[in-house]
């Protein structure tokens, strides 16, 4: 469909949903409810489109006979097998749970565990490359938090107070500024979409 239709749809729907935040009137509220319900359905379809695209890309690689298409075979086979098994038995059947508990969770947990080694390595390398007052503050704060996290339940008198102060004052100040900044950016971007300046959906 042409851009003006899409733009009009985005603006119209967006305005109705946005107004619902400020004017909780009956008709507007019902219309808003309908629109967000349909958005949920569309979001689910969009997920399926993404997964199909993933599938198609790897099937194309297999057909094209790429050098490293072994991994594409792995992905396509595992995807197909999971869809068949989980689709047949249901998402919470014991077979599905077995796959989830013994394959997916261990792999994801292991990836997260790997991160622990990588993080220590990266922060050491960061100190080798870049040493300024900000990186020193960053590292000292991180090390202090790590040490006190292990001991904070043992009530070290001064350290626990300092830790508390860092978390509840310094980090809160920085985090609040970051949050406000994020939201301001989101509002600016959203307004650009709602007035039609930005059209990420065209093309």
């Amino acid at each position: 469909m042409k851009t003006p239709v899409a733009t009009g749809l985005a603006i119209g729907v967006g305005l109705v949903v946005l107004l619902g935040y400020f004017i909780p009137v009956g008709i507007l509220s019902n219309l808003r409810q309908l629109l967000v319900e349909w958005a949920g359905i569309l979001a689910a379809v969009a997920l399926l489109v993404g997964i199909f695209n993933l599938y198609y890309v790897h099937v194309s690689k297999i057909r094209a006979g790429h050098e490293e298409n072994f991994y594409s075979y792995v992905l396509v086979i595992s995807l197909t097998a999971t869809i068949i098994l989980v689709g047949w038995f249901g998402p919470v059947h014991s077979v599905s749970r077995w796959i989830f508990n013994h394959i997916q969770v261990p792999i994801e947990s292991s990836l997260m565990a790997l991160l622990a080694v990588i993080l220590v390595y990266m922060i050491i390398r960061m100190l080798r490359r870049r040493i300024d007052h900000l990186s020193i503050i960053f590292v000292i704060t991180a090390v202090f938090m790590l040490i006190t996290a292990s001991f904070f339940l043992y009530e070290m008198p001064v350290l626990s107070e300092v830790r508390k102060w860092i978390i509840q004052v310094m980090a809160v100040a920085g985090a609040r500024g970051i949050l406000i900044g994020i939201v301001l950016g989101i509002i600016a971007t959203g307004l650009r979409v709602l007035i039609g300046t930005d059209r990420p959906y065209s093309g």
């Binding site: 394959i103 947990s109 996290a149 004052v169 500024g177 509002i187």
Partner: protein, 237 residues
């Protein structure tokens, strides 16, 4: 639960978990085909789960069932999301992708509106109100905290928040011979903001590392629990 108490299916599962954990940890030595095999396997399985959950939990009950077994009003209304879904499905093919622009526009419009409304009412106003309320003396006294320390902390929080914002939103770096366009006091404020951000990121880093460390402890605990009975068995033999 030890290995002995597991059924054979769970035992196979435990073996698989053990193997996959070792394959992932092999990345520490170097990137290798087995690691990549595991990653691709994981992507395939998780994508499969997502597909089924989306179809079973969303599309069937909310799109298909109302069209089939709903009343007339529900069926008529259900045609609209059906039409939009069909349009969105056209995004699969490059030739028909432009037909899905309207459906994408719908999603984008709703997303933008919820982001704006939620951001304004849920974060911006309450957080700015919180900054102001930090200086509410009666509130501090009600809590029973030390007034002076609370006010000092309030000043620090206010200053830190503004300084952080100053760094993100007013930072214009000077290039070459051009001097920065900032006024002096904003430049100083943004420098102060950097310090607060460095502290915040230090706390964030510690948090991320803590989460990763617990995962490492859990995985190593699993490996130890898996190997221990085998080692015990071998030793006793």
């Amino acid at each position: 639960m030890s290995l002995v108490e597991l059924g054979w299916l769970d035992l196979i599962g435990a073996v698989l978990g053990f193997v996959f954990t070792l394959l992932i940890f092999s990345y520490i030595i170097a990137d290798n085909p087995l690691f990549r095999f595991t990653i691709f396997l994981f992507i395939g399985i998780s994508s499969g789960f997502v597909t089924i959950i989306v179809i079973y939990n969303v599309l069937l009950p909310r799109l298909v069932v109302p069209l089939i077994s709903g009343n007339q009003g529900q069926q008529l209304l259900g045609l609209i999301p059906l039409a939009l879904s069909v349009l969105l499905l056209m995004k699969i093919s490059p030739r028909t992708a432009h037909w899905g622009n309207s459906a994408m526009a719908y999603l984008v419009g709703v997303g933008a509106a919820t982001a704006i409304g939620g951001g304004l009412l849920g974060t911006l106003f309450p957080q700015m109100g919180a900054l102001i309320n930090l200086f509410d003396v009666s509130g501090i006294q009600q809590i029973g905290g030390n007034l002076i320390i609370s006010l000092i902390n309030a000043v620090i929080i206010l200053l830190g928040t503004i300084a952080t914002l100053a760094f993100f939103h007013f930072g214009i770096r000077s290039k070459g011979n051009q001097t920065g366009l900032q006024q002096g006091w904003i430049e100083n404020l943004s420098q102060l903001g950097r310090i607060f951000i460095a502290v915040t990121f230090g706390v964030l880093f510690a948090g991320v590392f803590s989460a990763a460390l617990i995962a490492l402890v859990e995985r190593l605990s699993f490996l130890v629990d898996f190997i221990k009975p085998l080692v015990t068995l071998i030793v006793t033999m």
